[in-house]
Symmetry: C2
Subunit: 461 residues, 2 copies
């Protein structure tokens, strides 16, 4: 008999008690953004430390200038890998409270349609329900085998919903303690109700503000229109030059470090049935605007972009003013993939714009953040093992996905701990996180626990 | 002996009295934009009617819903041309009053440098001093010859500084009475202190606001960047396409109706020594941005433009927001010359933009005014005669200039009275109209009177 079967059986037997425990955590009003709930946040951290100690973790509440962290350690067999599990115990505010069908901090079980039961309450999906799937998996392993299959460090944050101000300093100050072979981050969704997924890439970003300056004051377009440089025209031309007619970015060197996505990965994405219609239809669009010949999922997960996030210049009030503005500016961002270097991209963009500025005009740049992309190798053995474990549990092939935006903690783990992350979660798109009537599927909670038990098993085999 | 010599002599003899009369008019606080001065405006109209009656005009104050008009008629010899003279008796407010060296409504004579004397006061240049040059010319003609050399109608407006709300309806209602062979408009400047000028062209304008709409809401650029259409990108591209690299406007049909300026006119403009350096230097620019190979004067006076007067879209506040906006808009204007048709230009621009809108996006247009260019024929006999008269008076060849912007009354005369205008004035660029310490050169006032006396003579010979 395999060593995982009795763990899974134990999780099935424990389900009711695990729900009771989750309800205990969900009852704590750990709203991190509102100082009035600071004591509740600490209570959440203390609750988790107590639970983890019961399981056998060396757990402690760790103070920060903000809400505390929870750090817990558990040894594994000699030579086993070391994983860091990340989740957050803080939750979003509950306003508007009148739109909730139930008390957000009095969780309940509800059958929303035949065969579909959910756990209600603030934090049920984001992220208390999710992090408890891992805690319960550890508990069952310990109960059945007296140990965990690998060395586990747990980091629970209490400020994720309020910008994680303490995270970077905490990682920097405790790098040696927290560094593991890789991280498991449980704050994401499944592809859909049937299909588990692992997110292995997140796009990086470079933000840049560009201001084109022409005359030393606003000019009358009748008196100066023709001879005088118009900064809106110069800016529009520079921005327009950034994409060719097929949606490629034309900045020299922009694609350096961009890799082609392996064909088997692209093929698996094709199977996800995400099309221009399904992605863009709900927002009123239908025609992919990015590089031609690539699917919407590839465009979002594995291709870089140049986007114009804001533009302003001249007279923008009601009516009309025949002015030639002294300056115009735009906020431009680049989503990066693979090995694109934020510094190189920023410099290349600046050079590209500078080349298009007439000799009597000038341009100024102001940086707004830059971070490289996160990309776990598609052929990572950890990835393959975790996928197999998920596929076994859900009886459906797990998919490898990417993320179009960034999840800061993943970049922080990379930066401060030199550690890659596997993003695995069991949320669903309709969980209404951050909104009234947040819920978490009972199947997510139950099969999530079983998934982690299997993943811990698989990673160490 | 010529018939003009004694008229000029009489003007020289009358100078002191003419100054006294001007001071009387300058003392009236006819600020049209401030309702507190409504009675002063009427007083200005009444003062002018009285003066004109003294000369022998059939003059009257004509009520409007706003400040009154002054209309005056004087017959000329049978078969002589009929000219309409236009000026305005209202003035700008005087704020900031503390910056005036003298009381704006207590005019004075001041020698500002050896040999250079000016008349100070609000309205001295704009436009009371100017309109009185014509009145004094008529007076001297009448005194010397008992008649005017041609039929003259005078129209003095009292709302020019507050948008002329009553002008169009007044012209429409009194078209038969006001229609003349052509108009003389005295509200402009000389080319410089030595060089008299006649402005015979004014560019027209089409204003258009364009709004590109993409998704039905703002999108997160991480989640949608790549597949989703970005309205700023679409708008920037459409605007950038409007000019080619040589500054030509690429909208099909845009140059229909644009004529090449006669080479002798271009040559006369070359003699004016207005260069990129002199025009653009003071505003911090140096490189003409319009159509290559044309002088800055030709670009401003005789070539059409497409200008972007305002643009806005997405996030434009402090910092950065990774948003893909739902819409972006720009205010675009075209300066028109010669026979360009505003309706055709507007339609061509709209078609040009529409062609560049992806199938899943939309565009909306909002018109902001449209008027054709004003262009008196360069070989008009009236123009030649007036130029000769000015050249005789100033002992320097008068130049034919254009205006880059519009002067609404000229278009209104065209529209409502089917009448062309010659724009002749004796202001200087440093007259500080609309500003504290407005002044009018004594030489402008004196030689301006003599110039009109000569022009009236020349036009009828």
């Amino acid at each position: 008999m395999s060593r995982i079967s009795p763990v899974l059986d134990r999780l099935d037997q424990n389900l009711d008690q695990s729900l009771e425990r989750l309800f205990g955590l969900l009852g704590i009003r750990s709203i991190s953004t509102d100082p009035a709930f600071a004591a509740d946040c600490r209570k959440g951290a203390e609750w988790l430390v107590a639970e983890l100690k019961l399981i056998g973790f060396d757990a402690s509440v760790r103070d920060t200038p903000g809400h505390p962290m929870v750090v817990a350690h558990h040894e594994g067999p000699v030579g086993s890998p070391h994983v860091l599990f990340y989740g957050h115990y803080d939750v979003q505010p509950v306003d508007p409270i009148e739109l909730w069908d139930t008390d957000p901090f009095a969780p309940s079980i509800k059958e929303i349609e035949p065969g579909r039961t959910v756990i209600t309450g603030r934090g049920s999906a984001d992220d208390k329900g999710q992090l408890m799937t891992f805690v319960e998996a550890c508990r069952a392993w310990k109960q059945v085998h007296g140990n965990l299959p690998c060395r586990v460090t747990i980091l629970f944050e209490g400020e994720e919903e309020s910008g994680s101000p303490s995270l970077k300093p905490f990682l920097a100050a405790n790098a040696a303690e927290l560094k593991a072979d890789f991280a498991l981050v449980c704050d994401t969704s499944m592809w859909n109700r049937e299909t588990p997924s692992i997110c292995v890439s997140l796009r990086g970003m470079v933000g840049e503000e560009v201001t084109v300056k022409a005359a030393n004051r606003d000019l009358h377009s009748g008196l100066y229109g023709g001879p005088a440089a118009n900064p809106i025209r110069i800016l529009a031309k520079a921005l327009a030059d950034i994409h060719d007619k097929d949606g490629h970015v034309t900045i020299p060197g922009f694609y350096d470090g961009v890799e082609e996505t392996p064909s088997q990965v692209l093929k698996s994405w094709e199977g996800l049935d995400e099309t221009a219609e399904t992605l863009l239809g709900p927002v009123g669009l239908s025609i992919p605007a990015g590089e031609k010949g690539r699917s919407v999922l590839e465009l979002t997960w594995a291709r870089p972009t140049a986007e114009f996030n804001g533009i302003i210049g001249g007279y923008t009030g009601k009516g009309f003013k025949t002015v030639i503005a002294a300056e115009a500016s735009a906020k431009v961002s680049f989503r990066l993939v693979h090995k694109q270097d934020p510094k190189t991209i920023r410099a290349a963009f600046q050079a590209f714009v500078r080349e298009r500025i007439p000799g009597d005009c000038s341009v100024e740049f102001h940086p707004h953040g830059g971070s490289p992309a996160i990309q776990l190798s598609y052929d990572s053995p950890f990835l393959a093992k975790a996928k197999d474990a998920l596929s076994d549990e859900w009886e459906k092939q797990a998919v490898t996905t990417g993320g179009g935006g960034s999840i800061p903690v993943v970049g922080d783990f990379q930066t401060y701990l030199g550690m890659e992350s596997l993003l695995v979660g069991f949320g669903l798109d309709d969980d209404r996180i951050h909104s009234p009537n947040e819920k978490y599927e009972l199947s997510s909670f139950h099969k999530g626990q079983r998934s982690w038990a299997r993943i811990l098993d698989a990673l160490t085999r």
